[in-house]
């Protein structure tokens, strides 16, 4: 495990642990409080499992009033609080602190209302992303953002991380699909931002808290919009002799006026790895694969497929196949979805990065990544949400070799810096958490960071809610930026990964 600088532990709080436990019992059923070392162990990490820390106490409140009472109490007694959804976060946002109360929202698991008239669902935050779609799909509706962790991750966590999915190119990220929340501030104040109407007045606090990684308040209720499923969905599997041609095809599709539902690129190492692993039947004599998914009415999809085929041909496509039916479409995705486990099969360990770059910079950035791969003498495979520029390089290494983890981490940090230098950003969907906080200074200067920290103070004056996350802990820049997945220890192994 890598050591990590976290906010100073408040010894007084640790010393008062027994009293705090008994005080908390005033606010919620005593069964909802866990304070023994064994009992809190399942909460010691999220999906960034290189970092572990047992919390002092875990509380599982059952309703908003309890959350409010607990937060108010912690605020008055200077006790740090870390909110947690399903713990699938990849940047360590829900990593506990030694002296914290970990507030788990898993008991908030009721869907409160399905409102077809207003096309929305009102739900508690602990409900999984997929259950929202499940609740409305019999009427042909769905909830659009689809992170690949959707069977496990909570909608509250999605809002906290502004999660994406392969379809956010056309349907937006979480922020474009949330209508309202009930939120409890650290001092116990209960507020509502937004609601069933599509627009609100005053400062857009709903927009601000989406993607705020649990630093501004605890979500206790959520209203999301639901959409009607498209009539028809088809995919194209395209193979190219170079990444440049694949990248150019993506640019041409977009400047040609087509916004596909999804566009994914894989490079040669990943094509081979995923094909070996999943037997997806990908062409192996190409340098890059591009999967383009199109949806709409039957005829619309037909028109779009033809248009994309023409663009691909102009860019010297070497392999081209359109899905005949849903089964074949899903087979195109099979390998792509197996990207993480396939890499896990090839290498004892890997780091998954999550940078964003301008689409057109892809060939350049990949070339540079390959150079870095030689410099660090570590293998790398790349998948790319090409439509929106979100790059996930997978760095392979072996933590049994001394100093190789450090080397992989340095490689990762270099990649993220490269993303920023190319005009991109540090995170597209996994958030900053503890993973990338020291790299924030690559993007922001001190004034930007101070402004953001003072917004935090407006919500949480004493900085007790999820401290140590997102912002550089010493307000200066240092090296960092990694997600370490140790094969075998990997959490949520069975979830297909994008």
């Amino acid at each position: 495990m890598t050591t990590l600088l976290m906010p100073e532990v408040d010894q007084r709080v640790l010393f008062d642990k027994e009293k705090i436990v008994s005080d908390l019992k005033k606010f919620t059923n005593s069964n909802n409080i866990i304070s023994d070392s064994e009992g809190v162990t399942p909460y010691e990490t999220d999906a960034l499992s290189a970092y572990k820390q047992k919390p002092m106490i875990v509380v599982l409140p059952e309703n908003t009033e309890e959350v409010s009472d607990i937060l108010k109490y912690c605020n008055e007694n200077n006790i740090k609080v870390v909110p947690r959804g399903a713990g699938t976060g990849l940047s360590g946002g829900a990593l506990p602190l030694k002296d914290c109360v970990l507030l788990s929202l898993t008991k908030f698991k009721k869907i409160l209302e399905v409102d077809y008239e207003n096309r929305c669902v009102v739900t508690q935050p602990g409900v999984t992303n997929l259950s929202i779609t499940k609740a409305v799909e019999d009427r042909g509706f769905y909830y659009a953002p689809d992170p690949s962790s959707q069977i496990a991750c909570s909608i509250g966590g999605n809002i906290a991380e502004n999660s994406g999915g392969v379809h956010c190119l056309k349907y937006g990220m979480t922020t474009n699909n949330v209508l309202g929340v009930e939120i409890v501030l650290m001092d116990g104040t209960i507020l509502r931002f937004g609601g069933k109407k599509i627009e609100s007045e005053g400062y857009d606090l709903l927009g601000l808290i989406t993607g705020s990684e649990g630093l501004l308040g605890v979500l206790t209720e959520v209203t999301v919009k639901i959409l009607k499923k498209p009539q028809s969905v088809k995919a194209l599997l395209l193979g190219f002799d170079s990444i440049e041609e694949a990248g150019k095809t993506v640019s041409d599709i977009i400047s040609g006026g087509v916004i596909p539902a999804a566009m994914e690129i894989m490079d040669k190492p990943l094509i081979k790895a995923t094909n070996d692993y999943s037997k997806a039947g990908y062409p192996l004599d190409v340098e890059a694969i591009l999967i383009v998914e199109l949806d709409g009415t039957e005829s619309e999809v037909g028109v779009l497929i033809t248009k994309v085929e023409q663009i691909a041909q102009k860019n010297k496509v070497k392999y081209l196949r359109a899905s005949k039916d849903d089964e074949e479409r899903l087979r195109f995705w099979l390998g792509r979805k197996a990207a993480f486990p396939a890499i896990g099969d090839m290498s004892p360990d890997y780091l998954c990065m999550d940078g964003v770059i301008p689409r057109k910079k892809l060939p350049e950035v990949l070339k540079e990544i390959n150079k870095l791969s030689k410099k660090y003498n570590l293998r790398v495979a790349n998948c790319f949400h090409a439509g929106d520029g979100n790059l996930h390089p997978l760095i392979m290494f072996d933590s049994n070799i001394p100093a190789e983890l450090k080397k992989a981490e340095d490689f990762g940090a270099d990649i993220l810096k490269l993303c920023v230098q190319s005009g991109g950003v540090l995170s597209g969907e996994h958030g900053i958490g503890i993973e990338k906080r020291e790299l924030m200074c690559e993007m922001f200067n001190n004034e930007d960071i101070q402004q953001q920290l003072s917004i935090k103070k407006a919500f949480d004056e004493k900085s007790l809610l999820n401290p140590g996350k997102v912002y550089p802990i010493l307000h200066r820049c240092a090296e960092g930026g990694k997600m370490h997945v140790k094969t075998g220890e990997e959490k949520f192994k069975d979830i297909p990964r994008f």
Partner: protein
């Protein structure tokens, strides 16, 4: 008279705001200064951003455009159109409401007011299309957030906060908008002679289909008379549904909609050109062209729209419903503060809000511009304001007292 300063660079803005910060002098921030939106405020200094203008960069295949705040929306939209792209939140041209003619404002003002046109319920509001910005906060510091890429979870999404903050948090100096391809084809199904209740039913029914409706508005009888479109009968009430996309798909979906609503007698389809003109006029609030009265915008959950309006059937109001029932534009007699307050009171009961979009100065002085009722929300908003502008010098009181 307030002293007007027109900066030509971000550095100018910074120097100016910093010196005002030191002196504690309040500044009224404006774009072209052509429209009086927000509360009436008095400041010793005015910062007019008209001369800080120009397109910084535009990359059609990266789907973004970066501009300075004084750039006119007109220039932006024309530039995008040449590449067959657009701002898909359909910015309203408030010139019609304010001056009776086209007068698109500045990009900075559009962001500050977060105004979005008829496609809002499908494509999102302006705030959903602001990828990033630079601004000078009330301490005279340059701050930035976001970037030029669409996917970004790197720190708080301050772009959302700055949209619709009416210049109270920072003077915007650079804006990055997401752009989208223009749709090849736009067609509109018009159903005549429905009453409001039936129209709302049509909206609701069509929104439950997969036809991707991108406009849904209702003009009561007499309200459409301003249209000079060849193809529509402007004396009846009009219920309109827009469909956009590739031509073949649009025609198909329109056909399906016609079938769905075949029990209605009076159905008509507006083809591409006429459809585009129809929705532009609707987004531009042309029905209250150069209004001398008080014009308000009401947003509420669509299921309450009918019940809300029912309460005012005996009053002298004119209205148009847009955003598939989520938005009501209302015009009332300019002096009628009693009615204005009644509207506001009722709208609160329906979990909605009312914003004054145009009113005579004395009404703007007397009446609240927004409808913020929750005291805790006010307190939090004030703390946020304080974090950007601790001395309260940027557009003080523009949104409500203290903000």
């Amino acid at each position: 008279m307030s002293e007007v300063y027109s900066p030509t660079s971000e550095q100018d803005v910074q120097t100016f705001v910093h010196s005002c910060f030191l002196e504690g002098s309040p500044i009224e921030v404006m774009g072209f200064g052509s429209k009086a939106i927000g509360r009436e405020i008095q400041c010793s200094k005015t910062l007019k951003l008209q001369k800080l203008d120009g397109i910084i960069e535009y990359f059609p295949d990266e789907l973004y455009i970066k501009v300075k705040p004084g750039t006119s929306l007109e220039l932006i939209e024309n530039t995008l159109e040449q590449k067959n792209q657009e701002l898909s939140f359909e910015p309203s041209d408030l010139g019609y409401l304010y001056k009776g003619k086209s007068l698109k404002g500045s990009a900075g003002a559009a962001v500050a007011c977060n105004l979005s046109g008829s496609r809002r319920f499908k494509a999102g509001a302006l705030r959903d299309h602001l990828l990033g910005f630079r601004a000078v906060n009330g301490k005279g510091e340059v701050i930035k957030s976001g970037g030029s890429v669409v996917k970004n979870v790197t720190g708080y999404d301050v772009s959302k906060l700055i949209s619709g903050s009416y210049g109270t948090l920072g003077v915007i100096t650079e804006i990055i908008f997401k752009v989208q391809p223009r749709y090849d084809e736009s067609q509109t199904l018009i159903i005549y002679d429905l009453n409001l209740k039936k129209a709302l039913n049509v909206f609701s029914q069509s929104m439950q289909t997969s036809y991707e409706i991108s406009g849904a508005c209702y003009y009561p009888e007499g309200m459409a008379s301003f249209f000079t479109l060849n193809d529509i009968d402007t004396n009846s009430s009009i219920t309109a549904l827009r469909v956009e996309g590739p031509k073949i798909s649009v025609s198909e979906r329109i056909k399906s909609l016609k079938k769905l609503f075949s029990d209605h007698q009076n159905i008509f389809v507006l083809e591409n050109y006429q459809s585009r003109i129809f929705w532009k006029s609707t987004s531009d609030i042309s029905f209250f062209n150069n209004s001398e009265n008080t014009v308000v915008k009401i947003s509420l959950p669509p299921v309450f729209t009918e019940e809300f309006l029912q309460q005012f059937t005996n009053e002298d109001i004119k209205f148009v419903v847009d955003w598939a029932g989520n938005l009501i534009w209302i015009e009332i007699a300019k002096e009628d503060s009693v009615l204005l307050r009644q509207l506001r009171k009722k709208v609160i009961n329906f979990n909605g809000h009312l914003t004054i979009m145009k009113a005579p100065t004395h009404v703007r002085i007397r009446e609240d511009f927004l409808t913020v009722v929750d005291e805790n929300m006010k307190k939090l908003s004030l703390r946020i304001k304080d974090s950007f502008d601790p001395k309260g010098i940027l557009n003080p009181g523009k949104m409500y007292s203290g903000l």
